[in-house]
Subunit: 291 residues, 2 copies
Amino acid sequence: MSTSASTTTAPTRFLETNGQRYAYRRFGKRSARPLLCLQHFTGTLDNWDPAVTDALAVEREVILFDNAGIGGSSGDVPQTMAGMTKHVLAFLDGLRLTTCDVLGFSLGGVLAQQMAQDRPSIVRRMILVGTAPRGGEDIMHLDKPSLAKHLQDPSNRGYGVLQKIFFAPTTTSQAAGEAFIGRLMQRKEDRDPASGPNVASAQIAAFREWERFTGERFADLKSIRHPTFVVQGVHDEMIPVRNSYWLAENLPNAVLLVYPDAGHGSLFQYHDSFTRHAAAFLTSDSDSAVF
Amino acid sequence: MSTSASTTTAPTRFLETNGQRYAYRRFGKRSARPLLCLQHFTGTLDNWDPAVTDALAVEREVILFDNAGIGGSSGDVPQTMAGMTKHVLAFLDGLRLTTCDVLGFSLGGVLAQQMAQDRPSIVRRMILVGTAPRGGEDIMHLDKPSLAKHLQDPSNRGYGVLQKIFFAPTTTSQAAGEAFIGRLMQRKEDRDPASGPNVASAQIAAFREWERFTGERFADLKSIRHPTFVVQGVHDEMIPVRNSYWLAENLPNAVLLVYPDAGHGSLFQYHDSFTRHAAAFLTSDSDSAVF
């Protein structure tokens, strides 16, 4: 694999395993332990910001992944996070990877937590951006007014809606959103098909299930000992920042970073800062999350 | 001034102004804009951890300061944060400093906020560690069981009590506390007199006043535009972490970092990490707090 490939140029590859086909892209500096990037609600391989994934690929291999039923991957989108996580593990098994670091954004951050619980050995360190623990609150309620006004506005199409809902309603954050959309559009060929309403409805069902908990709230986080870096924008309307507070308060080994003047897409808005901190975190081989 | 001076060796100096004598120490790389360090409840010049202030002094001048009635400074300890802040400003005026960066820890972080409001031009960037906004909650209630059990234990004397109340009740955090106490004791000569009960009672009165607010809660933070770096340990019993959440949510230009397995003294426990992040923040000349 050429190390000159990037988020914009890496060819889409396919892994066939257990009767399932998974689409993925793989690029960056070859390393024994790649960084697996798990994507947000309805996001495909084409929703990764080159400013983030190319910067992280300078010192490690990056793998972008379409879960079942997304982009070029076959199958149906599971209606639970546990179901989606089974596909992540099957994909890694198919690649014969026994360990990786994980960058999970939003829905992807939920899957990262589930991976750490279901197969702790396969995760070394994880970065959870704009996500929530099981039993969190106000997770992806797209019908609430602050989100619905953008999602139901017919003048917002395609990537344009992401600028509205991933970024804060300030001049600075919206400008960062516009730049983000521009970067997503740098890839011209070999693009994924966009997700349809069936993807959205299955993933929303999974979020609803993730909001439920039994027993002591957040107790399941105590067993996740992996060094974890939790990141969120302080004005995230899609998954409010208090969900990251709960992650930091209940994961025993997590550093929390909260960005100002930013919404759900804080990692894209502050890509220079985010990738510098993320790289420092990933480079550490301490048992502690502190970097 | 010798740049070889350090937290452990810098002589105590005195500034006379307006009939008041202020004790201070000044060391590090000479710079146009020094870092003013504002100390915690009852803390003196001798409560600064060399691992923190020496590391920060590598690239900038550091000034440690005894407020009125503390250590070698004359006068009475004011019973309000505003009163203490007047002394900080008088001290800076006496040194003919028109601008500085501020590291405010705990009570010192309250004074930093008050400085930024009372004379915005004198503060460029500020780091607020283990502190709270006006109207915060559970700020320095030393009579609550989790703190009283240590403060009222006669076997805890002098610095020993700091290990208990500044660090989390885990083996790792307590070990970090023991190392911290060892570093505080490296300075053998020219030490400050310890604070007595009159200092504590005046400062506690000031904390009680700081918990009160009128009008819209936290609205006063909206006008503080200074780039701010908010840091806290997730298990801080003296000033719980939710106070830092409120700072990050209401200061318009603040990055929040929360450390795991740490209490009030997170900056001392994770001095390597803290000083690396603090130096990166202070070195930035961006209008944004993001670093």
